[in-house]
């Protein structure tokens, strides 16, 4: 169960090897989380995360094979995760950045990115909502991105997948009002993780630990959407309203 300070006792992570998800899960284990279900496609990587969580104090860590692009398997993956008992909180963390210059010339690659980031997030979201609605409680934390707030020339395919994901989970949150299930949409800016390795940090860049801290606070506050770091919220308001020719030329 989630307690009065919104600390869950059981957590499911979809995309368990994600740096951000690991930081969130570790934070939750430091508080109350004891049963952790880790879902991912890289078996060895997921095992390493399992070991990390056991060391952090989780007493019951299990793993499930999960490929975000294999949409047909999602219902079964989610059912497996819930077979061991209620899931108080699910983190939807998987996602890929793609390669914009390749993807905008390769329809298959562009579609594959959309399948992983958007279609996969929708099918897991539907399955999660169904199971949580049945159990009468739960929280879903989903990693969206500021990249989804306004598509940028430099990564609009990725940005559009996050725009779709964000819209879907906002709507899902509304559909779950009164069910005991809540959704926290997280919009980080540039986070220094494996995904952004080798890239030049954008202004207001942040770390996985800071995202994890913000998620814990957002849950406690009952927020529906958070930006990390917080000031990005105001920055995005400005960026969203810039005239297109200006926005296009910005070095972001």
């Amino acid at each position: 169960m989630n307690d009065a300070t919104s600390s869950p006792q059981s957590v499911l992570v979809l995309g368990a090897t994600s740096d951000i998800a690991r930081a969130i899960t570790r934070r939750l284990v430091e508080r109350r989380a004891r049963r952790i279900v880790l879902a991912g496609r890289d078996r060895a990587g997921v095992e390493r995360v399992a070991e990390e969580m056991r060391e952090a104090g989780a007493s019951d860590v299990t793993t499930v094979a999960f490929d975000a692009a294999d949409v047909g398997s999602h219902r079964e993956v989610i059912d497996k995760a819930f077979a061991g008992g209620d899931i108080d909180l699910a983190v939807v963390a998987f996602g890929a950045l793609g390669d914009q210059s390749r993807d905008e010339r390769t329809p298959e690659a562009a579609a594959a990115l959309v399948t992983t980031n958007f279609t996969g997030a929708v099918s897991t979201g539907v399955a999660l909502a169904e199971r949580m609605r049945e159990q009468g409680h739960g929280a879903i934390v989903v990693l969206s991105s500021v990249a989804g707030e306004r598509a940028r020339r430099s990564n609009f395919i990725y940005g559009s997948t996050k725009a779709g994901l964000d819209a879907f989970y906002q709507g899902l949150a509304d559909s779950l009002v009164g069910s005991g299930v809540r959704v926290l949409v997280v919009r980080p800016g540039f986070v220094k993780t494996r995904m952004t390795e080798g890239m030049k940090p954008a202004p207001l860049s942040t770390t996985a630990e800071e995202v994890a801290e913000a998620v814990v606070r957002g849950l406690e506050r009952g927020s529906g959407t958070i930006w990390v770091p917080g000031p990005l919220r105001a920055v995005m308001v400005v960026l969203r309203h810039l005239p297109r020719p200006v926005f296009r030329r910005l070095p972001i």
């Binding site: 600390s7 006792q9 209620d86 409680h137």
Partner: protein, 451 residues
């Protein structure tokens, strides 16, 4: 039927359940027999602070609509009361007839079933014990059938403090207390610090039926733990002023906001709470004797402000209530010291000395000092602060109150309630299929032995 969102009085951790509203004890039994996979739990007036009367994804039996008796023997004060009847209704019925409930919590808006399930205590615990001590018989609807129970039955004591997990109390026979008036006489003493508060209580609580101290948990240094101690007993007819004697037993529920905590929404921050506590302490008389109060203003000052729990805003609040044995004053001091740092400000706490425990394995009261305080959810250090207090309390051989809990670390339950195993065995016999479930039970692992 569409599920409804439920919370406790603290309005934290809402979960959805199907709320069933039986009209008769027979219907209660039928609902228990028909319970689905996620089980069922009783709910009275929802005055427990946390998730005790919730059952996410399952069913919750609202007991307040069950047709119930309210019979008070005018000669003996023995009352036959429905489990869903409120203590407010009992008082309104019995007080004009010269009888009062043997134990009353800080609000009248609790049911008889809730009073048994939490084995509630009042300001008279050191004198009269907890609620179940005054119960001579219970009718309990369990998934294994209806049981009539008396204090010789193990299941009776597993039900007292058992947080609804042994079944649904549909009736209780309660011995009421004779009173001459609907008034209380009260002695007030203002104490400068924690040690003098404890010393005064230890020295003279025995002279009073009721005793409680309002403690300021925000002041540090030499004045840490300063309190206003209020103690008294039911007033006899000749203690009332002449003009009040005519209607001595008429029950007035119009509570005056005499002392306790309340502040406008959005202002519940550290500064306003500190200012409130300060003003309130200054306002209290240093020493006053024999002041006459109405029952409402003495016992239930907050009942005059309906829905005051909403003042804490959408994040809600929680109540932390601990008891540590006599001799563990150091643990109490450490708790007050930690709270006084002020990062998680609370309005006046309530401090009291408990008397002997009753036989209920999960009954909260035990001889020692109990401290209760309301804390708004929000300060980032709240969760870790309370975890820290839990360790202090458990280390001192104390416990926290399940009826107030909404965040205890499950690993500590068995340490705080060492007779949990015994309780589980009695409970399991009454509910072999494991139908009775609550969010509290799930969160704390009350039903299963995890080792």
């Amino acid at each position: 039927m569409a599920p409804e969102l439920l919370t406790g009085w603290g309005r934290t951790a809402p979960t959805a359940a199907e709320v069933l509203r039986p009209r008769s004890p027979e219907e209660v039994s039928e609902l228990l027999a028909a319970a689905g996979g996620r089980g069922v739990i009783a709910r009275g007036l929802g005055r427990s602070y946390g998730d005790a009367a919730q059952n996410a994804g399952g069913a919750v039996i609202d007991t307040t609509g069950v047709d119930a008796p309210m019979e008070v023997d005018p000669d003996t004060g023995v009352a036959r009361l429905g489990g869903g009847v409120s203590l407010d209704a009992v008082m309104r019925h019995a007080l004009p007839r010269g009888w009062f409930v043997p134990v009353t919590p800080g609000t009248r808006q609790v049911t008889v079933g809730g009073a048994v399930a939490a084995d509630i205590h009042g300001k008279n615990h050191h004198h009269d014990g907890s609620f179940a001590t005054h119960v001579s018989a219970l009718t309990l609807a369990t998934p294994a059938g209806v049981r009539r129970l008396g204090p010789d039955d193990e299941l009776f004591w597993a039900t007292a403090g058992g947080m609804g997990l042994t079944g649904v109390v549909t009736e209780a026979v309660v011995r009421l207390m004779p009173v001459e008036t609907a008034y209380v006489w009260v002695d007030t003493d203002r104490t400068p610090d924690l040690d003098s508060t404890l010393a005064l209580m230890a020295a003279s609580d025995a002279d009073y039926r009721y005793s409680v101290a309002w403690i300021d948990c925000l002041t540090r240094g030499a004045s840490m733990g300063r309190s206003v101690l209020t103690r008294g007993d039911h007033a006899s007819l000749d203690q009332l002023p002449q003009k009040a004697r005519g209607a001595a037993l008429s029950f007035s529920s119009a509570a005056r906001l005499a002392a306790p905590p309340w502040a406008p929404a959005g202002l519940l921050n550290r500064l306003s709470i500190r200012a409130f506590n300060e003003a309130w302490y200054r306002k209290a008389p240093r020493r006053q004797r024999g002041r006459i109060h109405s029952i409402g203003s003495f016992f239930h000052p907050l009942d005059g402000v309906s829905g005051w729990n909403r003042l804490y805003g959408k994040r809600g609040f929680l109540q932390y209530q601990l008891v540590v044995p006599f001799g563990a004053e150091d643990a109490l001091r450490r708790a007050v010291e930690r709270l006084a740092r002020g990062d998680c400000p609370s309005f006046l706490g309530v401090l009291k000395a408990f008397g002997p425990a009753d036989p209920g394995p999960l009954s909260f009261p035990a001889p020692g000092w109990t401290l209760a305080l309301d804390l708004p959810v929000g300060p980032p250090t709240l969760a870790s602060l309370l975890d820290e207090l839990d360790e202090v309390v458990a280390g001192a051989g104390g416990r926290v109150y399940l009826a107030k809990d909404s965040r205890l670390r499950p690993e500590l339950v068995e340490k705080m309630y060492p007779r949990l195993g015994e309780w589980r065995a009695v409970r399991a016999a009454a509910d072999p299929a494991g139908v009775l479930r609550s969010d509290l039970a799930r969160r704390l692992g009350l039903l299963e032995d995890t080792k």
